[in-house]
């Protein structure tokens, strides 16, 4: 089956006064219809920029290269080369996105309801009344009590969880093919996070939306994702089906991440596995493995070239010259 979205060699560079920032480097991944892809990585690893690049939402003086073939039923186009107008007609319609901080993502001077109707009116020629009715339905769908009243509320009158629900309502209002959720629960409490995760999962099943879920919480990923992409220093260092990744991480960084989480069941006597050092500086164009600074298996080659993607098991692609299983540098076939 053809993937719904197929991103190839996506790179994004910001030109700033202090120099160029190489925020995303050579990211490739596929997204199938209806599946959930989790993108994990630490702060600054390029998760958000990757997604914003796809939607053309980055500021001026940004350079995006690569391709992103979006192929829902009926048509096919490259998100990175279509016209602005065409992209605009997809945004919020076929592809929508929700952000981490729901309060700051909602217009403070517009009612929540009006913000939901906007996409409907823009993309689906709803009239005012129809849009209103639909918006109330959507509010109800995302679990907001008294939706007809809450329609007229302003964002600041909602609690954190409710705002995120409202954001979800906006995002799914046009029943998109892809929903990108950029750390939607990071700002929320554990108990509220559980509510939102639950809600998204339910809506995804009901509506058959493909979800890209960005997070740095490996716990959330475990329960939510079909496949996982791990990002480090702007590169997708590993992509794998979720079980495979947790059982058998192919990249030293992935392994490090998993080791850094204490397990509830585990004993407190064990030391946590920590990755020494700090994330890389993105001001230099990467010419070698970005993780080399911190990698305990680093050897000469790591400093000389960028590792290509090695398929180490079905569906598991790793960008690393070191073969963890064999405990030797990888040999080229």
């Amino acid at each position: 089956m053809k993937p719904l979205l197929s991103v190839r060699n996506l790179s994004t560079r910001f030109d700033t006064f202090d120099g160029s920032v190489y925020a995303v480097n050579d990211v490739s991944f596929d997204l199938k219809a209806g599946e959930t892809l989790a993108v994990v990585g630490e702060s600054g690893s390029g998760k958000s920029v990757t997604m914003l690049s796809l939607l053309g939402l980055l500021p001026r003086s940004t350079w995006v290269t690569g391709s992103a073939i979006f192929a829902p039923e009926g048509f096919e186009l490259d998100l990175l080369s279509v016209s602005k107008a065409e992209l605009n007609s997809l945004r919020g319609n076929k592809i929508s996105i929700i952000f981490q901080d729901a309060l700051r993502s909602l217009n403070p001077v517009m009612t929540v309801g009006e913000q939901i109707t906007e996409s409907l009116i823009t993309h689906h020629q709803y009239n005012k009344n129809g849009a209103h009715k639909r918006a109330v339905e959507l509010l109800e769908m995302v679990g907001i009590a008294q939706p007809d009243k809450r329609y007229y509320a302003y964002p600041h009158m909602f609690s954190g969880g409710m705002r995120q629900r409202a954001m979800i309502a906006i995002a799914i209002s046009c029943t998109p093919d892809i929903l990108i959720a950029d750390e939607p629960t990071t700002a929320l409490d554990v108990t509220i996070q559980a509510q939102i995760v639950e809600l998204t999962r339910r809506l995804q099943q009901d509506l058959g939306i493909a979800v890209i879920w960005i997070t740095h919480d490996l716990g959330v990923v475990a329960g939510l994702a079909d496949r996982v992409m791990v990002m480090y220093g702007g590169t997708g260092v590993e992509i794998a089906p979720v079980d495979l990744l947790y059982e058998n991480p192919g990249h030293p960084y992935t392994a490090g991440l998993l080791g850094a989480i204490p397990s509830i069941a585990g004993s407190s006597a064990d030391r946590l596995v920590s990755i020494e050092g700090a994330p890389p500086d993105l001001f230099q164009e990467p010419r070698h493995c970005q993780f080399a600074w911190r990698c305990r298996y680093v050897f000469d080659r790591c400093w000389k070239e960028k590792p290509p993607g090695y398929i180490i098991s079905p569906g598991q692609v790793v960008k690393c010259f070191y073969d963890g299983r064999e405990k030797t540098p990888r040999v080229e076939e």
Partner: protein, 314 residues
């Protein structure tokens, strides 16, 4: 909401009281006004008698008390020079000044906000530099100098506008100024235009970086909608609170502009009253100017509350 209103009202009243006190004290520091009031030929006894009559030889606080109770009854004393109740003189002049300041404010808003938006939404472009330049220029050209230059160019050389005075016409029962207001209002407005351009520019720049604007773009909304409903509406909020302050600048600036353009408003009255140290008249002028300013502050606060839903339900 009501409570907010009430507390704003009370603090405004307190503010006014403070203003009265300040004006009163400052004036009394200037020395004795009586000697100014009498004729060139008056004898010392006459002066003493007048001083007695007007009560200037009593303790300051008592005088202040008197002054306050008078003020509450709308009695600000008589202008020495004009021999008329100070309040009448002031009331007569207030409309012209408010008219001038309002038109200037309107001009400033039209020009300043437009310039600010153009600059702010295209940061670091030529357009932005021009916008910043105009903004700065407005803030650095001395107001009265600008006024004179305008007279020379547009009145003397080109003859497009009258150089002085306030002419009016009546329309739908309203007395409105004719083109005679153009030059003075423009000269007066330029400073505020500059300020507003700057504020707008930075407000727009700030709003443009807000997540909700990115969200709006991610919804695939039309550019126009994003501009009006997201960027403008949100940048307007900080601007509202500035407008009160700007109006107060405009009222202040009218001291120069009204003198130059012979605009019959409070500013020229004040310049005159200060020059002749017309005790009660200065007091009344300063008080009513402050009253207008404070009133406007109150008004902008209320508008603020209406426009920004975040405050409304406090």
């Amino acid at each position: 909401m009501l409570r907010y209103l009430l507390s704003r009202l009370i603090s405004s009243a307190a503010l006014l009281l403070g203003v009265l006190f300040l004006v009163f004290m400052l004036l009394h520091l200037t020395g004795d006004p009586v000697s100014l009031m009498v004729s060139r030929y008056a004898s010392p006894e006459d002066i003493e008698a007048l001083r007695e009559e007007l009560g200037f030889n009593r303790p300051l606080l008592v005088q202040f008390g008197d002054f306050l109770s008078g003020a509450f009854q709308g009695d600000f004393g008589s202008s020495f020079r004009y021999r008329q109740p100070a309040m009448d003189l002031v009331l007569q002049r207030i409309p012209a000044t408010i008219e001038l300041a309002s038109v200037a404010l309107l001009m400033a808003i039209l020009m300043g906000v437009t310039i600010g938006i153009l600059g702010g939404s295209n940061p670091n472009t030529i357009l932005d530099s021009i916008a910043r330049g105009i903004g700065l220029l407005g803030q650095t050209i001395p107001t009265f100098w600008l006024g004179l230059i305008l007279i020379i160019i547009f009145s003397l050389r080109l003859g497009w506008f009258p150089s002085f005075g306030r002419e009016t016409f009546t329309f739908l029962g309203l007395t409105l100024p004719d083109q005679s207001i153009v030059l003075p209002a423009f000269a007066l407005s330029l400073f505020t235009t500059g300020q507003l351009a700057r504020f707008t520019r930075s407000a727009v720049m700030e709003v443009m970086n807000e997540d909700y604007v990115t969200t709006a773009r991610s919804k695939g909304l039309k550019k126009k909608r994003i501009y009006f409903k997201y960027i403008l509406k949100n940048s307007a909020i900080p601007l509202i609170s500035i407008i009160g302050v700007q109006f107060s600048y405009l009222l202040s600036g009218s001291i120069y502009i009204e003198t130059i353009f012979s605009w019959p408003g409070l500013g020229s009255l004040l310049a005159e009253a200060v020059g002749t140290r017309d005790f009660f008249l200065v007091q009344a002028t300063a008080f009513f100017t402050s009253l207008v300013v404070i009133g406007l502050h109150l008004l902008t606060d209320l508008v603020y509350v209406l426009v920004d839903p975040r405050i409304r339900y406090r």
